[in-house]
Symmetry: D2
Subunit: 279 residues, 4 copies
């Protein structure tokens, strides 16, 4: 049990310059007891309202140095303060505020919301177990308009899909990775590096791209690049929910459509998920 | 990998009387191979487009006798047809069309959408493993305006929640249960019986209700009643996401608010989840 | 300017029996002044926080006898209290809680949310003008699986739609009507009567239905029936957003699909709107 | 009546470099006839399916030079082709794809979705009337963490809001403006200039900002700046839906909160709308 979508803004000031971190936190606990379920005895139950208060107090006291450090602080607090807590998990998601710029000059206190991929993290701990930290990006929508195909697949009497060697690849990416023991990590720097790896593996070199023979291979390329470039990542999960773009047949309208007009098919959509770790 | 939100309507006619079943199906596979990820070799990959076709062909051929039977049929088809499939899972969710009535007379071909709890089911199978069938209800919003409290909970310096013995209990329920070996089950009948159990355990007798000392206890009551009344259920999971109703303090407006005007607090919200099986 | 989505629950008790009305209110004002826009002089501006307080105070004091009466009360309050208000409009929408029943017995304090069409109303008044009251229903999803066609329409080189005399008609209805001078209206009774008219006009007699040659004609039938049966309605606007169900061509899958499997097309969707008054 | 959410991607190639424009189009017509409503005579009705085809054919033939030009083309087509059309309105909204960059180098065929304000336009025409073109931006979320207050407002017994001279101003902006006669406008250039004006008027100089005494004044500042800097704009409408950030009182948790932890209040929310034209 726990509290979901604890939303707040943490404002930090350095002189006249303001820094904002708006987050949404979910914190869940498992207690050692069962009497609250069986007997309605609440004596060990930490109210979800108290959970919320603790999250807000920690934000006030420590600030949010990084999403990951904040999630770690919350887990530590519950583990060290309450002996009835058997397990704690905290999810933190960021509202993507970016500093406004005027003619290249950063504004000291104005921000714009730019949701081009949402950063999140998760920390969890069982009593007597290690603290495990995950980070990730979700709602990242990418498209490449060529250098993608799907050929040589399994066929039988239910196959109607034609083979294609030049299609649009468009999808919403969810990536989540785990860190090993977190010693003095610069979580912000690592996260930005991983985001760059994802974009690079998806799109290939800017002047020619890289051919994708399937969603599966693209997912694997992303994972391989992140694992090779970012040593702190132990395991990486990638989910690619793809939107198919159908080349509209315009023959009955007297026109030849050379992949110029395409219709997005939002339902049903294909999904491809894979988790990859190190040896 | 697989295909999500395959939406279709299956229309069945008996003379002039029409029966509709509109569903949304997600079918996911795990293959025995890894070459599609590592090498871009698609020779064993069943396209998600083919998955969609198979779902639609089975709907056409067999109809949808019940959601559960349809999900079972899909799993069986993939397991028996494709030796490269290591695991298959199918989720089926129903659009809640209800037959219209005029002055108590059922209409032969007109329907209204009544989303007071969405029925769903899931079937999954590993090769050489048993077929496991789940069913459930989600998005079921219930409220009781009294006979609910929360007292005697754990307190410390972060506790600001007052004790209450008469509050509103309002929540969105998610219930999912597993069946044992499914021999000639009347899935529709069982599902309706479980829905009644949930409503009864939540609300208590119509003339007086039943006191709930916590969300945890209400969740447990629902589980205990279902397990005691419906022998086919093996394990039942209940998630109760509750909306808190705050009694508005109107003193500074010169009024005494005797729990007459309450403000729903949608974020953050508490959540309580528990899974209970038989011994 | 004004305050949107003021959400609250008004609880009314008669002995042990509870009655709930949960609503969402939007109240907008136009002032006689412009100085707040031009000069930043706020001396005549009623804060939106005060607007919210007034709505809640009126709910506490008067209860919500009907949505319409509550909206009228709010408009009256602003017009009679603040001479700087040039115009006021209030929208009230109901959360569709229905009393639970156990074996036909109504429960004294338990409710279920059944969103099969959302009731709303609107009242507006210009200073020195009449109070105008609208009521309506929205998000009402209806379907008939036959007795609908579309033939004899205008054709040219861009026409690819075949003529059909037996298709599914499915849509989401929005209906809004105005009342004349509201003298002792039983708004709840009238609203229920109009809802019945809408269902009847859409579906036709329960044993045979009634043929719809177009969305336009169905919209007109609804309007004509309401105007003929409910004398209090002056003008009625109907919007029908229809979901097309495409009969899936299964020939390339070796099957003949006799309108048994249909695919809902959610985008793009057709829309048909018409406003009809009395002579 | 008409067709809503006609979604498609228009792909344009210049050598190996690709350009994408994904849009969502709604086109509505009013006919000179009423017989389709009254008699079910469809002979003058242009099916919404044909409307969709025409939009797609024009996209194929003309491309989408700018959203505005495309909307104008659609209106012109309906007016010149169908004498039964009395009025046509077309709304076009853009999916915010941006070209990916790797180390500053633009990618030839890869894009990322960046929804920081959605561009849209609208063109409408009555037969024998002028073509009117609107453009706009919506879902633009901005925040300034100081230089905002609200003081000196009207007070009475329902006022509980304290005066504030340093609060957070956060809102979602909707701006829509009309152009006069569109002679050789560079619509893309004008739109970008207006977006810059909106950001500048909202935030003020980057090193100090500009004090906002109310939402009303901020709305007016935006309008005045756009009208003064962009001569092509005739009338501009601005709607500012603001999210209030509540400074959490942490006294009962033993802490002094100096505007460091703030809770967003999403419902109810204030709204301020104003339309301003030239003399």
């Amino acid at each position: 049990y726990g509290k979901n979508t604890i939303k707040f803004l943490r404002l930090h000031r350095e002189g006249k310059k303001h820094f904002v971190k708006e987050v949404e936190v979910c914190t869940h606990l498992r207690l050692t007891s069962a009497q609250e379920y069986l007997e309605g005895n609440n004596s060990l139950v930490i109210p979800t309202d108290t959970i919320k208060n603790i999250v807000l107090v920690l934000a006030k006291k420590n600030g949010i140095p990084s999403l990951e450090q904040f999630a770690i602080d919350i887990c530590n607090h519950f583990m060290t303060t309450f002996c009835q807590v058997a397990y704690v998990k905290t999810y933190v998601q960021e509202v993507p505020w970016q500093r406004l710029h005027e003619n290249g000059v950063p504004h000291i206190h104005s921000f714009i919301c730019v949701p081009d991929g949402i950063r999140f993290c998760e920390a969890e701990q069982c009593r007597n177990g290690p603290l495990v930290v995950f980070a990730g990006i979700k709602d990242l929508k990418l498209m490449k308009t060529t250098q993608s195909g799907f050929e040589g697949f399994y066929k039988n009497e239910h196959t109607t899909l034609p083979e294609r060697h030049d299609r649009i690849l468009c999808g919403e990416l969810f990536c989540k990775w785990s860190y090993g023991e977190c010693k003095d990590f610069d979580f912000d720097c690592i996260w930005n590096k991983i985001r760059e790896c994802i974009l690079e593996a998806f799109s290939g070199p800017p002047d020619c791209g890289q051919y994708s023979p399937s969603y599966q291979k693209t997912v694997n390329c992303i994972q391989m690049l992140v694992l090779s470039k970012v040593s702190q990542v132990q395991v990486i999960e990638v989910v690619l929910n793809n939107t198919f773009y159908n080349v509209l047949d315009m023959k009955n309208l007297g026109l030849t459509n050379d992949k110029e007009v395409l219709i997005p098919v939002e339902a049903p959509y294909g999904s491809c998920a894979c988790t990859l770790g190190r040896k």
